[in-house]
């Protein structure tokens, strides 16, 4: 009975974890494709070769002339003088000419004296080049190169194969990029700022504020406020962010409202990095606050009423009650919410993607959003799956470590009890 669950979790949960690690070690992009590649001498490959093997790179780039059976067959089909092909086959078979001039000089010297037009016609038939031809196998490319008169040592073959391969290869380059690039450092700082501020201000503090204020209200009023503050969580995220966009747009609510006092209309969401952060944190904080509110409210409800009565009889002010009765008993729920929300804030980028798309510029780009932009959606169109997976892998590792810690803190072993029926 547990098999379907195990299979699904394995296929779409554990496998992706492993695969993220695997993809992180590759340079997969849209250009390399995700399945295997081919070997192709492109202009880019020639540029790469120039550094190591300048002669070869120059040679491959130019057309070469090879007297081969294929060309001879084509020549016979042209129905020129029969002597041409007979002589070429007899005395020049397999010869390679590195340029058109040399090939044509040889053809001109044929006994049957071809005209200038015929020389050109004939030489065209033997024009051979590997430039931009796709080879499905490495050997195919090497065989062609050999036919064209390039004799390569195994080491040279290796260099050529690497330079011309169009598929993805194994590499640790991604981690070097993550470690060294200043962009990544900026994104890392953004993430740290975003997670800590949202967590402290909203997911914990404001949630506590909501839970405590609703606690000091008549039950009916309290349930209205709780319902209001649950709205951000239950509203589908696209609509929720749409409403914030409307609030902050050039012609939106804040602009119109400030317009009544003579301020010019502007886009409050995207006009400056400061404002963008302000709203990004509000948008996420309002959603995050509801979870803390529910957890803290039920924890406060679990505090024995007698403690409140006793403190009131002793003349405690409301602040003292909060400080000395409520807060000390909320230690575990607060720790729980902090752990849980750190993880979800680190990983979720829905709201930022829909509101600022990481803008203005890249001011509000956080780690998970940057991974998404790198691997799945960017303006240049070359999606770097490998680099994106490496960035996601950082989050995956952080996620696993944090959830393991969280498992320890919340004493998981107490949650298991032995089955009472033995099978």
């Amino acid at each position: 009975m547990i098999a379907p669950a195990a299979v699904m979790i394995f296929l779409f949960f554990l496998m992706p974890v492993v695969l993220t690690a695997i993809f992180a070690m590759t340079n997969m992009t849209t250009a390399t494709g995700i399945s295997g590649g081919a070997w192709q001498v492109t202009q880019g490959a020639i540029n790469r070769l120039k550094a190591d093997m300048p002669d070869l790179a120059g040679g491959i780039a130019e057309p070469r002339f090879v007297i081969d059976e294929e060309g001879l067959a084509a020549l016979e089909a042209l129905k020129l003088k029969a002597g041409f092909s007979t002589e070429l086959r007899a005395s020049h078979m397999g010869e390679v000419f590195p340029s058109r001039r040399e090939a044509e000089r040889m053809i001109k010297a044929l006994k049957d004296r071809p005209s200038t037009r015929e020389v050109k016609q004939i030489s065209d038939l033997f024009n051979r080049s590997v430039l931009n031809t796709r080879f499905e196998t490495r050997d195919g490319l090497m065989a062609s190169l050999k036919k064209l008169g390039f004799t390569l040592t195994p080491a040279e073959q290796e260099t050529v194969a690497t330079a011309t391969y169009t598929g993805w290869v194994w590499t640790t380059e991604n981690f070097r990029i993550i470690g060294n690039s200043p962009d990544m450092a900026q994104i890392f700082l953004n993430t740290a700022f975003y997670v800590s501020v949202t967590l402290l201000l909203f997911n914990v503090s404001y949630a506590l504020f909501l839970a405590i204020t609703t606690h000091y209200m008549p039950a009916s009023t309290a349930s209205i406020f709780r319902a209001i503050w649950l709205l951000p969580r239950i509203t589908p995220v696209v609509i929720y962010v749409l409403m914030w966009k409307w609030l902050t747009w050039d012609s939106g609510f804040i602009s119109m409202f400030m317009g009544q006092f003579g301020y010019p209309a502007k886009n409050y969401l995207l006009d400056s990095a400061y404002n963008a952060w302000f709203f990004v944190i509000l948008i996420n904080g309002f959603i995050g606050a509801s979870m803390g509110m529910l957890v803290f409210s039920s924890a406060i409800k679990a505090i024995p009423q007698t403690q409140f009565h006793a403190s009131e009889v002793d003349g405690a002010s409301r602040w003292q009650q909060v400080r000395h009765v409520i807060l000390p008993q909320l230690r575990w729920p607060i720790l729980f919410v902090t752990c849980y929300q750190t993880l979800s804030l680190l990983a979720s980028f829905n709201e930022i993607l829909l509101s600022t798309r990481g803008g203005p510029g890249r001011a509000t780009e956080v780690w998970s959003l940057a991974a998404y932009h790198t691997a799945l959606n960017n303006y240049t169109g070359n999606l770097e799956y490998g680099l994106g997976a490496a960035m996601a892998l950082v989050l995956v590792v952080v996620g696993i470590v944090l959830s393991l810690i969280y498992l320890r803190i919340f004493r998981y072993d107490t949650l298991i009890s032995k089955p009472l029926i033995e099978d």
Partner: protein, 285 residues
């Protein structure tokens, strides 16, 4: 509900007035209230530029219901997709997690502790970080841009929560019922199907509702894994409308938004009590 007001009034009435906190919280809640109020108002009215008060009633923002926009899929197809998406996810989650939860709660399977720990780690683990790998896997096996692929992925990602909740619900069912069943010679499967499952019907319903709402609201997975016009769901459709700079019209966006959010609000209002169990308690691990 009957005894709740009494408890609260005991704590609040004595020394403190509740008016200041109500006013304070009301002030904080204003932005939310304004946004939601205008979400509904703007769909059926037009407002002059530079003004905040609507001046005429109109239904033109709702025209997307009977006219398909150029380059956009038909709204009813999209709605059907969303419904299929959310229902299938619900079905898969309920079936799979009610079985797995029972096994983890009651049967002495090998590596039970390991399974439970695994489920719990996965439950806390942010699954959205896996989306890049999932994207590549779906392209490989050819389920990219299909509803089946995204349904399986979304259901799998929600499974740990479902299994964990179901396990918790089964834990509350008294053992005596099962013991009676096994003594009478029923197999464990029959016991589960006939005796235990009916006991936790409310819980199954709550998890079902929750899964449906999660599926209905999901944005990023369909956006990445199934963005094509034929398999688009409402969230992707709406996000596509908003991103299209040529037809920027908040009235229409909001009308689509209301069309999309109303089922959620209705379900929520009717089944608030069930859902609160999950929103509050479910994440408690």
């Amino acid at each position: 509900m009957a005894e709740k007001p009494q408890i609260s009034s005991n704590t609040t009435s004595a020394n403190f007035s509740s008016l200041p906190v109500i006013l304070l919280l009301g002030l904080f809640s204003l932005p939310l209230l304004v946004m939601y109020a205008y979400l509904f108002i703007d769909t059926i009215s037009d407002t002059e530029a530079g003004s905040l008060i609507p001046n005429e009633f109109t239904l033109r923002h709702w025209s997307f219901l009977w006219e398909t926009k150029a380059g956009k899929p038909n709204i009813w197809l999209v709605t059907l997709n969303t419904f299929i998406f959310a229902s299938c996810i619900t079905g898969v989650i309920l079936t799979v997690s009610s079985m797995a939860g029972y096994v983890l709660s009651r049967l002495n399977v090998p590596a039970r502790g390991f399974f439970l720990a695994g489920v719990m780690v996965l439950h806390a683990f942010p699954s959205v970080t896996l989306i890049i790998a999932i994207f590549i896997v779906l392209q490989w096996i050819g389920l990219y841009n299909s509803l089946i692929g995204v349904i399986l992925v979304k259901a799998a990602v929600e499974l740990p929560l479902g299994i964990w909740l179901m396990k918790g619900f089964y834990d509350t069912v008294p053992w005596e019922i099962e013991m009676a069943g096994t003594v009478d010679g029923a197999s464990r499967f029959t016991v589960w199907r006939r005796l235990v499952l009916p006991q936790i019907k409310p819980a199954v319903m709550a998890l079902g509702l929750f899964s449906f709402l999660t599926g209905w609201s999901e944005f990023i997975m369909p956006q990445v894994l199934a963005p094509g016009a034929k398999v688009q769901v409402l969230s992707v459709y709406l996000a596509g409308l908003i991103i299209d700079d040529n037809n920027f019209d908040f009235g229409t966006f909001k009308a689509v938004g209301v069309f999309y959010v109303v089922p959620v609000l209705i379900l929520y209002v009717f089944f608030q009590k069930h859902l609160m169990n999950i929103y509050g308690g479910g994440t408690k691990g």
